[in-house]
Every structure is written in structure tokens, then in C-alpha cells.
Symmetry: C2
Subunit: 232 residues, 2 copies
DNA sequence: TTTTGTTTGCGTCATAATAACGCATACAGT
DNA sequence: ACTGTATGCGTTATTATGACGCAAACAAAA
């Protein structure tokens, strides 16, 4: 069935993805170097046009699989962008999703549509095509707000992780220093993680305890009142 | 220009509005009784198809003006809904916005497209056409979360309002009892409202002080940790 | 073996925030 | 003047928070 019952002309509908990754160092975003116009040879977010019978999440999967070689990823709808001139080809509405990925678990494969796929640390993004800079900005904003009161972010780590690793992740995401000991107390009090009883060996110093994410915690009963260190 | 550059067929794009109102009693939603199929004579959210050169907010304004006779309203994008069968006429994506209105300031006018327009208290909604029940559910969720840490909700009151009025509004929005005195303390400490120096006269009892919303407060420095009363 | 440098885990303490609740004042109506 | 009720202000015990000290654990160096 067509959508021609509407007396209006329909804009095109695209789905764009902000894929966040964390490599034990910085928070990064996955960008794609375009092989075709518009914005040929420029970096943009991975995206695709919505097919008529497709749900947003299916479009997301399609992008992740065919363009990036990723599957089974945390996805969340971010916002829909509607600037009339955001795409030089004409009117395109973009529904943006953001994804959280542990880069170690996946092998990036630049699909045939792209010259290259690469992780860019948030602090070091190239200039982006379309309005994708605004989309990234808004998704960072959302992620930073959300991680404080929702159990999210663990998708960026290994299944088993240490408290110092989680601590460093939070500092990277929030771009701030957090007192190590207060962070530990708040996380443990929240019961959002469970000790595995094992320790992560191999490090030069004291071996930290390993934890896993506690899926039994209800999102609504989770709230960290994380405050940056006052001292630089 | 058409959007035919895309090799895909485009779904229709609609904007639907969840208009919240508060009548000193309960939180209400504005519903529209449809004059035409589908869902003829049933209640739905006000909405319209997006015109090709139109921005979402412009569609919102158009709906508010032509269908409801409202202007200059607080609007915020809620979410985009994509269930393939949400509209029996075919594939229609809906971008939902929610609005906050003080019903006293406006005269409702059911446009020619509708049989009737009416406020429905949240606790007493009729069954809704399309997937509009889900849209309302999500927008209530959003409003309840947002009012706790963002200076929002004052749009539902008169320009000048009393603290007991604000207190009752919060109880209505959150659907819970809040300790009157603790609520007062937190609101005043937040500086989100400013005393006008005047009192609201006419009541049978002690005349409460009047306040106005303090627009100078930056949203990020506003946070109420409001807790329901433990005692019923 | 001992020492060194560093990280991890646990604990302390002063201060701030919070929930629960008491009480006098200001009204209009009686 | 009295009554009933809502408003405004205040108190207190408890909890949460920020800042920070310290010993144990580890690998590598001495």
C-alpha cells in the first residue's frame, strides 16, 4: 500500500545512528567516510533511509549489520531532526538513535557504501556533514544526563569489569573527575553491580575485584548523585 | 523539489499533540472527537500531516491554532512512533509533541474537522484511536520525570500563583501526596519562584503570598528531590 | 629477600540535606 | 469574640554527602 492517501507530499525519512564506544580511554563515536555525494569524502554518522514496512529499530539493525558489521547492540531513540535544509538533496527528516558498544567485541567492516569507518574520540571529532554535529551534541547530552539516573553505560564495558574500570568510564563519559572512593560507595550502595567473587589478574598492582551488571535492579530505584571533585 | 531522490517509498509523517492542562484540580489532556474515518466519532489526540516545507513546530502551531484556537504554547518533542499498523490507512510515522497550557487563558474552538474538543482528566480517559493511548502514557511519564529536575510546569498556572497552588499542581502531576512544608522549603531554596510581595485575596482563609516564575534560573542548576509522603 | 611505587579496598568525620512534624498567625463566616 | 481552616515558619532526628586518611596487595626493582 502506498501512503498516497495523504493529500500532502511526504518528506523522506532517514535513520541516523550515534554509536558510542569506549576503549578504556576515551568515549568515542563511530563515523563513516562517505563514498558518494552529498558530502563525498566527508565524515558523517552512519544512516539509511527508512523502508516502507520497516520499523526504526529494524533500520538501525540494518545499518549496524551492513555498514558496520555489528549485531545485538543497545539502542535508544534520541530525537527527530527536521531542519528543512539539513539535507541538500531535499527534505529529509532524520530519526536519530544512539547505541552503546564495546568496541573490543566487534570487528568493524566498512560496507561497500563507505570509504572508511573509524572511531573518533569525542574531544577530537572532525567536521561532520549534514546536521550531524548537532545530532552528536544532543546525544552526548542525553547520555550524560541518563547515566546518572539510569543503569546504562555497562554496555560499553566487558561483561566482567572492575570498579576502577567503571569509575574511569564515568569520568570519560561525564568528562570530569570523580572521587574514587565516593564513587565506589555510591555504586555499591545502589546494588547496580554484583561481585563475581573473582579478581582481575595480570595488572602490575593489586588485583581489583570483578563485578557484573545487576539486571535485577529496577531502573526507577537507581539514582546516583554523582558530583565532580571540587579539587582539580 | 520532490523527495524522489530516495530509492525508497516514503511513509507519511504526522505530528500528534499531547496537550496538558490543569484546572486547579486534576491534570487533563485535550482530546478531539473525530468527524471522519478512521476512528470516526472516537477520541484521539489532535494531529496533522506534516507539510513538505514545514518544521515540526510549525505543524504543532497549525494544529493548535486551527483545531483548538490556541497560540503561544510551551511545546517539547516527545518521541516518534513507528508501529507499521498504528494507522489503518497505511504507514504513518507520528512525531509526538507535548504541550503545557493553562486552560483558563484560552477558549477552545473545535475546528471544522472535529465534532468536539474536550479536556479529559488523566484518571478518566476514554479509549483512544490509533496508538494514542501509548503516546499519552509516554508523555505522562516524561512530564513526571521532567518536572522534578527541570523548571517546567509553571505554564499550567496563572502568571501569578501561590505556593499552595504550585503544591497542588505537583501533587496532581505526580499523582502523589507531598509534604506541604518540605515542598515549600525545597521550592523556595531553589529560587525557581520569586515573591511578588502581593497576596492572593478572596479566599476564606489566610491569604497566601503570590509568586512568579523566575526565568533567570538556569535549568541545570534546578533540581528538586521531591519525595512522596510515607504516610498515606 | 627486601624495598619501592602504585593501585585497590575500607574506613572516618564534619557538614549538608532530608523527612517528619509542631505551632502560631491570618482569614471569612458564625 | 469565637470557630474552623489554610498558610507560613520553625525544629529535630536521621541520613546522605564530600573530603580525605590509611593499610593491604601486587609486580618490579634493588
Amino acid at each position: 500500500m502506498t501512503a498516497a492517501f495523504s493529500s500532502y507530499q511526504n518528506p523522506s525519512l532517514a535513520v541516523d545512528l550515534v554509536v558510542f564506544g569506549y576503549d578504556k580511554e576515551a568515549l568515542s563515536v563511530l563515523l563513516l567516510n562517505r563514498k558518494e555525494a552529498p558530502f563525498k569524502n566527508q565524515w558523517t554518522l552512519p544512516g539509511a533511509f527508512l523502508q516502507l514496512e520497516e520499523r526504526f529499530l529494524e533500520t538501525c539493525q540494518r545499518i549496524l549489520e551492513t555498514k558496520l558489521g555489528l549485531t545485538n547492540i543497545y539502542l535508544e531513540q534520541l530525537y527527530s531532526f527536521d531542519e528543512p535544509d539539513r539535507d541538500p538533496r531535499g527534505r529529509v527528516i532524520s530519526v536519530a538513535y544512539f547505541a552503546l558498544v564495546n568496541p573490543e567485541n566487534y570487528q568493524l567492516t566498512a560496507g561497500k557504501m563507505a570509504n572508511d569507518v573509524k572511531w573518533f574520540p569525542l574531544a577530537d571529532l572532525p567536521s561532520l556533514g549534514f546536521d550531524h554535529a548537532a545530532i552528536v551534541r544532543k546525544s552526548v547530552e542525553r547520555l550524560r544526563a541518563k547515566i546518572l539516573y539510569h543503569p546504562v553505560g555497562f554496555e560499553l564495558l566487558d561483561q566482567d569489569f572492575t570498579l576502577p574500570e567503571l569509575h574511569h568510564l564515568f569520568e570519560a563519559v561525564l568528562d570530569t573527575k570523580l572521587d574514587r572512593r565516593n564513587f565506589r560507595r555510591k555504586i555499591l550502595d545502589s546494588h547496580i553491580i554484583l561481585p563475581t567473587g573473582q579478581k582481575k589478574t595480570g595488572a602490575q598492582n593489586r588485583h581489583p575485584d570483578l563485578y557484573i551488571f545487576n539486571k535485577a535492579i529496577h531502573p526507577n530505584q537507581f539514582n546516583l548523585s554523582i558530583t565532580p571533585n571540587s579539587k582539580a
